[in-house]
Structure formats: structure tokens, C-alpha cells
Symmetry: C2
Subunit: 324 residues, 2 copies
């Protein structure tokens, strides 16, 4: 390459890294030679000497889960904008694999985004030594993190239902160990009394379609007029089971989900849901990893959630006029 362009290797290097430092004419010569040869600087070799690889790692529990693939998409988009490539690790929901993958990527990336890590506190802190880390959807000690304000989402949902006249609603919780789940529960316990509604906490249930089915019968037995599910998948299960049991939505029962996976708006009854900004979270995480020159910046970045009202929520027929 250097030979073809008739310059030294350093000039080639400079032409790519600090273009203003080489004579415009020389630069042209180099770039043209590169074009002909299809030459591109070897990023791995570059990383070896600069210490910066131009790669960022992303670890998710399951790529096929739309929640995580959305985060991943956000990461990929921002990484590309910053001329970085992303290293993906699918941890298959296994904490050990998670740690192992972080190790494997560590030396090859400038930082790692860990989505909803399943590992325990100690293990997590051990990994920090390996490579800069940013957590998504989990808080842990003093580690930088991107969080979504689930608690506020719950508040919005509860206020919405209360305004519609509902006075007794069920919350269907997801996995017990989930950080987001804790947050939501907290939000619920704060919002319910404030809105003068009674919250019936049910669960934990698996955060799946089946979990929703299972939860529905319990909710029905408790005489609530509205249901707030841990996520959209569960909410869709609820919708299904309610239909099967002849309960009309939103006539007899209002239903709200969480996450807003795309398909939730496509069911026969478009689902009222609390939207989680997953792509934005991915982007924010990469941002924190990359343009954080001074580590004194805010350690946690909170992203707002937003209630999207669709056709599965409606006023209670017997509800008094909203004058109050």
C-alpha cells in the first residue's frame, strides 16, 4: 500500500487519521491508491497501539426478545454514528455465560453495555475491572447505568385508570428478581393511595403470554375492574383469556401493558401500554461509554416512560361524572 502510493507507511497512517497533517496532493495520492487496492486500515492493529479499538460490546440475555433487540438496535445505531462497530453477545439468560462473554470481549472493545444483567452484585463488580461498563435496566452500586422510569409509568397508568373511575385494579408482577419489577411495585405503592385506588398485587408470574393467561383468572376472582400487566406479552395473554371467558374489553375490564413491543398495537384490541424507550436507552448507554471524558458526569441516566392510551382502557360504566 505504502509502496503503491509511493510514500512511507506513516504518511499513509496520517492520511487516514490526521488528514490535515499531510499535503492535500499527497493525501489524494494515498486515498486514490487505497481506493484501487480496496485498502482499509486494520482496526485491530490500530487498537493494539492506540489502546482504543473502535469497538463497543453489547451483552443481552436474549437477542430474540424484542425488548432487547430494540435496545441493541439503539446501541448499533449510535455506535455506527461514532464510527464504532458493535460486538454482540447473547448470554442465553445465563449469568455465567454473561461473565464469560464480557471476559472474551473485554480486550477487544472500548466499553461494554450490559443489558438487564442476571448476575449477582459481586460478580458484576468483579467485571468492572475488565472494561468500562454501562448497565441498562439495572442499578448496582456505583456503576453507571441507563434506567427507564418504570415507576413513573405505573403512576401514569394508575392516574389514567383512576380518572376513568376505576377504584380497584390488579397489578400482575413479573419475575421476582427483576429490578424493573421492583421499581414498578414501588411506583404502584406510591401512586395507588395518592389516586385513591386500591391495588391488588398478584404474582409473580412468568413474563409471558402464558403468564398472562394464568394471571387473568386470579384477577377475575378478585373483582378488579382493571389490570396492569408486567409487560405487553402478559397483557396480550390477559386479553386472550378475558375473551375466552367472555369478559369484554374494555367494557367490563380495562387492560394496560408495559414495554410497547410493536405488535401490541396490532392485536384486535390495540393495547393501552406504558412505552419504554428501549432504543433511546441503547443510544444513551453507548453515549455514556463513549463521550464521557470526565467520569464525574451523572452516573445514572433516567429516561422517561410514557403512557400510550389505546382501546383497551375505558371509563367504568358506573363511573360518576368526572366532576368530583
Amino acid at each position: 500500500m505504502a509502496r503503491v502510493a509511493e510514500v512511507s507507511v506513516s504518511t499513509v497512517s496520517r492520511a487516514f487519521t490526521v488528514p490535515d497533517m499531510v499535503h492535500p496532493q499527497t493525501r489524494r495520492k494515498v486515498l486514490q491508491a487505497a481506493e484501487e487496492l480496496g485498502y482499509q486500515p486494520n482496526r485491530a492493529a490500530r487498537g493494539l497501539v492506540t489502546g482504543r479499538t473502535g469497538n463497543i460490546g453489547v451483552v443481552v440475555p436474549d437477542v430474540a426478545n424484542p425488548f432487547f433487540s430494540a435496545v441493541l438496535k439503539g446501541c448499533a445505531a449510535r455506535a455506527r454514528g461514532a464510527q464504532h462497530v458493535v460486538f454482540l453477545a447473547d448470554a442465553a439468560e445465563d449469568p455465567r455465560v454473561e461473565a464469560e462473554m464480557v471476559g472474551a470481549m473485554a480486550k477487544q472493545v472500548d466499553g461494554i453495555v450490559l443489558c438487564s444483567p442476571r448476575e449477582n452484585s459481586a460478580e458484576l463488580h468483579r467485571l468492572v475491572g475488565t472494561s468500562p461498563l454501562v448497565l441498562v435496566n439495572r442499578v448496582e452500586g456505583g456503576l453507571p447505568a441507563v434506567l427507564m422510569d418504570s415507576a413513573d409509568g405505573v403512576r401514569q397508568a394508575v392516574e389514567h385508570l383512576a380518572a376513568l373511575g376505576h377504584r380497584r385494579i390488579a397489578y400482575l408482577s413479573g419475575p421476582a428478581a427483576s429490578w424493573a419489577g421492583e421499581e414498578r411495585l414501588g411506583g404502584l405503592r406510591a401512586a395507588a393511595p395518592a389516586c385513591d385506588v386500591e391495588a391488588v398485587e398478584l404474582g409473580p408470574f412468568p413474563p409471558t403470554f402464558q403468564g398472562g393467561i394464568q394471571a387473568t383468572d386470579l384477577a377475575l376472582a378478585r373483582g378488579v375492574t382493571a389490570v396492569l400487566a408486567f409487560n405487553d406479552l402478559m397483557a396480550i395473554g390477559v386479553l386472550n383469556r378475558l375473551a375466552a371467558r367472555g369478559v369484554s374489553v374494555p367494557g367490563q375490564m380495562s387492560v394496560i401493558g408495559f414495554d410497547d413491543i410493536e405488535m401490541a398495537s396490532m392485536t384486535t384490541e390495540p393495547l393501552t401500554t406504558v412505552q419504554m424507550p428501549m432504543e433511546a436507552a441503547g443510544r444513551a448507554a453507548v453515549d455514556m461509554l463513549l463521550d464521557d471524558p470526565q467520569p464525574t458526569t451523572e452516573l445514572q441516566r433516567w429516561l422517561p416512560t410514557q403512557l400510550i392510551v389505546r382501546s383497551t382502557t375505558a371509563p367504568l360504566p358506573a363511573a360518576p361524572a368526572a366532576t368530583r
Copy 2:
């Protein structure tokens, strides 16, 4: 590291790459020191000298699309099994980005899996020089590829409908440029006459929920008794529109989708669909990239598709007994 273990760097290297070549006792010493220091060989540096990076690249048009995230998951799983890590590129449905990403990854990977590449033939062949390539869901010149037998899937679907007594069915085509679409059309044109059914080709439509809505009215106007949609997303749109227009499924109209994205089985009417082995395709692609010592192996790997019959297809009420 070498100092801590009190051996030379070469011995450390050997302890990791050719363990049998070092004295068991020395090996223990090295491994133990590595454990203490949390040392792991730098894969990038290793790649520099061996020429093998231990990375494989995967580029998809859109990670958030469940079809591609499934393929990606397959790739990631197999890569991990082969001690490789995957480089992900989300091309954002843009052919130029696709090419650019291939270039960026080329020197850093042992091979690249290109999923449903949007680029033209010439560009694709140009990229081959950069790095070993395996295509998924597209055939192109003499390039190695993993394909799913869509044509056969259509045959199964048509046979199924024919056996149920349907004699006039609509096929809702997706994007005109899609290779898989061409395949399916071919399968349709072969299977329909053979099964004595009349196929009404409609479209192209966008391969989305909306596309399905749009297509439904056309299909209804053509007096068909069954519909075969380009993919599940469209099929769900169809289901929706049919419900809105008061057409009962499967009573008055049978509906079949393609892909089997997970959610298709969760709608109120679980969708009959032709299942595409997306994860398997990802695994196969990585296999072809990695354990292909002799490039004379089969160039194309065909994966079977399978019709999953669920509740959106049923016999035509007026259907004659299947004696014929």
C-alpha cells in the same frame, strides 16, 4: 504475566494455544498466574499474527425485525460454540451501509454472514474479495448461501388448503425485490395447478401489518375462500381487517402466514403458518463459514420449511367430501 509465572512469553503463549507442548507443571504455574491476574490472551493481537481473529461478522437489515433477530440468535449460539464472538452490523435497510459495514468488519473477522442483503449483484461480488461471505436468504452467482425452502412451504400450504376443499386462494406478495418472494411465487405457480386450485396473485404489498389490511379488501373483492400472506405480520393484518369487516375466520375465510414469528401463535386466532427455520439458518451459516476446510462442499444449504396448522384454516363448509 510472563514475569509473574516466571516463564518466558512464548511459554505463556504455548500454555494457552498448545497446552500439550508444555510441561504439565509449568502449565499449571502459568494457568494459575493467569487466574490471579485475570489475564486473558488479547485476541486482537493474536489475530494480527495468526490471521485468524476468532470473530465472525453478521450483518442484518434490521435487528429489531424478529425474523432477523432469530437468525442472529442462531449465529450467536453457533459462534459461541466455536469459541468465536460475533460482530453485529445493523444496516438499517440501506445497501450502502451494508457494504460499508462489511468493509469495516472485514479485517477483524474470519468471515461474514450476510442476511437478506439488499445490495445488487455487482456490489455483492465486489465484497467477496474482502472476506469470506455466506449469504442467508438470497442466492447470488456462485456465492455460498443458506436458503429456506419457501417454495416447498407454499406447496404444503396449497396442498393443505386444497385438501380442505378450497379451490380459489389469494397469494399476497411482499416486496417485489425479495428473493424469498420470487421463490414463493414460483412454488405457488407450480403447486396450484397440481392441486387443482386457482391462485389469485395480489400485490406487491408492504410486508407489514398495514400491508395485510390493505390486501384484505382486494382479496375479499376477488371472491377467494383462503389467503396466503407473504409473512405473519401481514397475515395478522388480514385477520384484523377480516374481523373488522365481519368475515369470520376460519368459517368464511382461511388464512395462512409465513415465518412464524412467535407472536403469531398468540393472537386470538392462532395463525396457521409456514414455519421458517431462522435460528437453524443462522447456525448453518456460521457452520459453513467455519468448518468449511474444503471449499468444494455444497455451495448452497437448503433448510426445510414446515406448515404449522392452527385455528385459522378449516374446511370449506360447502366442500364436497374428500373422496373425489
